[in-house]
Amino acid sequence: MTRVPIAPGVFTWPSDDPQLIGSRCAACGIVTFPSQASCPRCAATDMTEHLLPRRGRLWAWTTQEFPPPSPPYAGPRGADFVPFAVGYVALAGEVKVEARLAGTDPDGLVPGMEMELVLVPFRIDEDGNEVVTFAFHPSSDEAP
């Protein structure tokens, strides 16, 4: 099965060591995700692409126990829907990114815990491709 990213420009692809693609303001230094053309802090328009750190700490989380309204939700529905955890991970002092949380049940989620970027299967599209998206799961070892 061919694997395809949920959208171009969200994370480096293909990659053995994927990173989220954000942007940094040349004027004030703020980091955004995804990348955008102008700065939400100082309104400058000189933004450059910036690959985000792969690790960070869990800042806030909840669970999604019911299928979100569709559209826009395009994932598994009905009996195929599997509840998931979602939260913000603060990436090494640069930016907080909202993502699915994988690799643990909600009881294992503790604010401040070390998390690491992974790519996870999301759905099978109309052409039979496996669509992958990004998520964070607990780090396999302590942060460097």
Binding site: P34, A60, E65, F66, T133
Partner: protein, 382 residues
């Protein structure tokens, strides 16, 4: 701020589910009731603002009220739509342009969580495709973090929801009029941890209207004017923890409710200690808990003890959501904030019946909050 604008009439179409009745028809009913309450004829109304999410042109209500040719402006500002309609109506009077006008809110939503195209909120499509473009998830995340940071228990969330259902049972205009126990609330399905189904409000249908006039004219119409001391609307600043945010900066800032509240207190020359009754945005029970602190009614974390002590019950130190709030009334977006004003006006006049706050309240307060990070506050007094 001097009291230069008065509310002389309020009207409500009940909130709930009303079959084939259209939002426009509900808006006309609420407006007629507000006009009757004020003793004013529609033909005397000099201007109007109306808010709705579902109705493109709520000013079409003139087809049912009378085509008098007045300036009539439609506003939409998310969950703060009604606050915006009220603010603009008050400012029109303050500007000296007109002396008597109405603010109207109306809506009729299908059941279920609100949905939209994420791109319309400056969010990428993939954010919605993977199921993150959802308000309930944000509210679950915000209260989950708040509970962890400030020591709030799930029992407190259940107590807040139970209070609002109990207050709703005393309100003939409410959508949900059946009291629910804390146990039933906690046992209902979890939608977004830690929030259960019965801790959330539902989109529904309804309308509300307010008649405003120049303060010095108020006693021509009523012996019980309620003065609009402040109305403010604010949007999120960078660093606020807001709905529909694929990312947040590391820096943190207070939410727009904090900014709207501060501005309103300053405008009114009134502080949170002076408020006798408040209607706060309880999209879910956790939102009410957070908004108690964001509006200055307690410090972060004090809600745990104050809720247990009954401080926010009718008869408590600061009754909150005396008409059942959004949890018991549901949320027809365009009307929700004017429903809050309707309740405050009844409370300040002593006309709130079985849910009347004792002790002749002098000062009332309303707050709205919603996507994509917009808040509205008003302060009213006798």
């Amino acid at each position: 701020m001097s009291a230069d604008v008065a509310i002389i009439g309020v009207g409500l179409h009940p909130f709930g589910r009303f079959g084939d009745t259209t939002a426009i028809e509900m808006g006309a009913i609420a407006t007629r009731r507000a006009l009757a309450d004020a003793g004013v004829e529609w033909r005397s109304v000099q201007f109007a603002f109306a808010g709705s999410y579902e109705v493109d042109n709520p000013d079409a209500v003139v087809a049912l009220l009378g085509l008098t040719g007045i300036p009539f402006t439609d506003v939409y500002n998310g969950c703060a739509t009604a606050a915006s309609a009220l603010t603009l109506a008050a400012q029109t009077i303050r500007l000296g342009e007109y002396d008597l006008g109405v603010a109207i809110g109306m809506d009729k939503h299908v059941a279920g969580a609100f949905s939209a195209d994420p791109r319309l909120y400056a969010c990428p499509s993939w954010y919605g495709e993977q199921g993150h473009f959802l308000t309930t998830k944000f509210f679950g995340m915000k209260i989950n973090k708040y509970m962890h940071d400030h020591g709030i228990s799930r029992a407190t969330l259940a107590k807040v929801a139970a209070k609002n259902y109990r207050n709703g049972s005393l309100n003939p205009n409410a959508f949900r009029r059946k009291p629910l126990s804390e146990e039933e609330i906690l046992a209902s399905p979890v939608l977004n941890h830690p929030l259960t189904q019965y801790m959330f409000c539902s989109p529904d249908e309804g309308a509300a209207a307010v008649v405003l006039c120049r303060a010095e004219h108020a006693r021509r119409y009523t012996d019980t004017p309620v003065y609009l001391r402040a109305t403010t609307v604010r949007t999120r600043r960078l660093g606020a923890f807001e709905v529909h945010s694929p990312w947040l900066p590391i820096e943190e800032a207070p939410g727009p409710t904090v900014d709207a509240a501060r501005a309103a207190y300053e405008m009114a020359g009134i502080g949170p200690d002076d408020v006798d009754v408040a209607q706060l945005q309880d999209t879910d029970a956790g939102a009410e808990v957070i908004h108690l602190a964001e509006n200055g009614f307690c410090a972060d974390g004090e809600q745990e003890r104050m809720v247990a002590d009954g401080a926010f019950e009718i008869g408590g130190a600061l009754p909150v959501n005396t008409d059942g709030g959004l949890i018991a009334n549901g949320e027809p977006i365009g009307a929700s904030g004017l429903r809050q004003v309707h309740e405050i006006v009844l409370q300040l006049r002593g006309q709130a019946g079985d849910r009347q706050v004792p002790g002749s309240p002098m000062v009332g307060y309303t707050q709205l909050y919603g996507a994509p990070g917009t808040a509205g506050v008003s302060i009213l007094s006798r």
